[in-house]
Amino acid sequence: MTAAPLLQVENLQMHLHLRRGVVKAVDGVSFHVHEGETLGIVGESGSGKTMTCLSILRLLPIHGDGRLEGSVKLDGDDLLQLTEEEMASRVRGPKVAMISQDPMTSLNPVFTVGDQVSGPFRYHKLVRTVREAMSAATAGLRRVRIPSPERRLKNYPHQFSGGMRQRVVTAMAIACSPRLLIADEPTTALDVTIQVQIMSLLRSIQRDSKLGIILITHDLSIVAGLCHRIAVMYAGRIIETGKVRDIYRNPQHPYTQALLEAIPHLGQKRKRLAAIPGQPPNLMDLPTGCRFAPRCPKRMAVCDDYPPATELGDGHVVNCWLAAKQ
């Protein structure tokens, strides 16, 4: 993976200007994704992981006057410089697609699955007739391994199980062969047995098409087997990033360490969990220094200044004074 990255995000900011103040939802985030690579973005609610991805697609909340800054380069194009029309015709769908958490709310209950899966083909004028649209939809459903797709085209979303619905949404996302797929908690609403299946489906799609994937999650265990690299977000910033093995085996940031210790894992029984005290900070009133400092067990005086990025080798970067000092 020495080639230029598929997606290069530099110093991305997305601030929402509300009457009550400015919400710094995304506050200077940089990362990249290569072809055929999966980047896991891990964080709690409010950490800015979803807003980061919506910013890439330039889909911002209508209210709040969201302001984007920085650059998002996809295949050399800076997405933040494109017009809304170019985004809709050239980027969303053919280049970047997204699947969201809840497949029930992302499908329209009053249209058949065939109508919806053929939607991207029709919108991007890849098909001319209804017949072509339906055969494209059938092929799409077959790609995500829905059994007897011809018969299921006329079904409505409620006639599908949760896992099957997520497959339908995935079929729509990959319809126009995008280069980058953003999956926002794609399995959170599903049972574990179905989770594994969606994960292995994403893996096989990636193998076939060299897709770059950004996988957003709050659960570090889900991403372990699927991601190549991980970025941990806290209060609008990436605080640690690196190869998956480095993050799990050798986490440097106290927040990453705490996240790994705070979840019960199979095989460890009835011992007290190392809870992280306190709450994540208010995004309208952030600490000036390290944003995790108020909850950090290893807090020092110097943490009142924002810690610099320290490169630990092999792409493992951490923003923490503990690492900076060594």
Binding site: E44, S45, P147, S161, G162, G163, M164, D191, V192, T193, I194, Q195, V196, Q197, M199, S200, H218, D219, L220, S221, I222, A224, G225, V244, R245, Y248, R249, A258, L259, L260, E261, A262, I263, P264, H265, L266, G267, Q268, K269, R270, R272, L273, A274, A275, I276, P277, Q279, P280
Partner: protein, 323 residues
């Protein structure tokens, strides 16, 4: 004594395009809930865990069978006894954004169950509220705030304080942490473990997160489409699951380990529909070990040598399931 489920069944009639159909949400479930322990109900969505909790909480009436408390069936209890039962059995629900009335102050929320059962003067109530808030780790000033002024984790603490208000013996925990953020979950779990120890509480835990179940529960009941397929000590179930469904469930759990890949069982796409459950063993269409007998005969729950129960033809035929 405590709580016991005897042959408990709950059927729902639902209308479909082909006329009425019966959903067997719980089918002849037998369960003893030992005092002072945590027993967990696990299984995929639609397996009947929540139905069982509702039956225990008397939010639903059983179709047949009974929930008994200290040896007496709930359906045979007098009004007075039912009131007593309701004092003993409380619940904490999944979503603390939905389970707390937004129009009431925390003080009203916590005192509501007390006032439903006793006459108490204001000073006693206020002292009790302060005491309960301290137990769940909230400041006394929280009493006069409204739920929206708290974060998810704090709201779940308020719900726990409300559940403790009547000094119950049993608390039903329906997915108590799945709506909370990872960094907050551990705080609430630790709190639940602390108060269990302090007050000798019995927990009936409903959860789909198996790691959480292993962490909290002493006994585990695995449900599949309304029936118990395996039930035993948590350690037995997690270290050596015997039923192919329990095995598949455990194999699918992801771990925070980049070298571990959860296994996707082949053809494991659909849970059978509870509306039209498969014949014989309900798990057979998804089972990698299905035999001819599995399609025709429903295996009964048998007791294995190590004391656990499981319902599988493989186990009736042979002492242990071969890999």
């Amino acid at each position: 004594m405590g709580l016991e489920l005897r042959d408990l069944s709950k059927h729902f009639i639902v209308r479909t395009d082909r006329g009425n159909a019966v959903v067997r949400a719980a089918e002849k479930v037998n369960l003893e809930i030992p005092e002072g322990q945590t027993i967990a109900l696990v299984g995929e969505s639609g397996c009947g865990k929540t139905t069982i909790a509702k039956l225990v909480l008397m939010l639903e009436r059983p179709t047949s069978g009974a929930v008994t408390f200290d040896g007496k069936s709930l359906s045979e209890m007098s009004r007075h006894e039912i009131k007593n039962y309701r004092r003993q059995v409380q619940a904490v629900f999944q979503d603390p954004y939905a389970s707390l009335n937004p129009r009431l102050t925390v003080r009203r929320i916590i005192t509501e169950p007390i006032l439903a059962h006793y006459k108490r003067d204001r000073a006693t109530l206020n002292a009790r509220v302060a005491e309960l808030l301290e137990i769940v780790g909230l400041p006394p000033t929280a009493a006069d705030l409204y739920p929206h002024e708290f974060s998810g984790g704090q709201r779940q603490r308020i719900a726990i304080a409300r559940a403790l208000a009547l000094e119950p013996r049993i608390i039903i925990l329906d997915e108590p942490t799945s709506a909370l953020d990872v960094s907050i979950r551990a705080q609430v779990l630790n709190l639940l473990m602390d108060i269990q120890e302090k007050f000798g509480l019995t927990y009936l835990l409903i959860a789909h997160d198996l790691a959480l179940v292993e962490h909290l529960a002493a006994r585990v009941v695995v449900l599949y489409l309304g029936s118990v397929v395996e039930c035993g000590e948590s350690e037995q179930i997690f270290t050596a699951p015997k039923h192919p469904y329990t095995q598949a469930l455990l194999d699918a759990v992801p771990r925070p380990d980049p070298d571990y890949m959860p296994k996707a069982a082949e053809g494991f796409d659909d849970t059978g529909s509870a509306l039209d459950p498969p014949s014989g063993c309900k798990f057979h269409p998804r089972c990698p070990h299905a035999m001819p007998i599995c399609t025709s005969e429903n295996p009964s729950l048998i007791t294995l040598a190590d004391g656990r129960n499981a319902a599988c033809h493989l186990l009736s035929a042979r002492p242990a399931l071969q890999e």
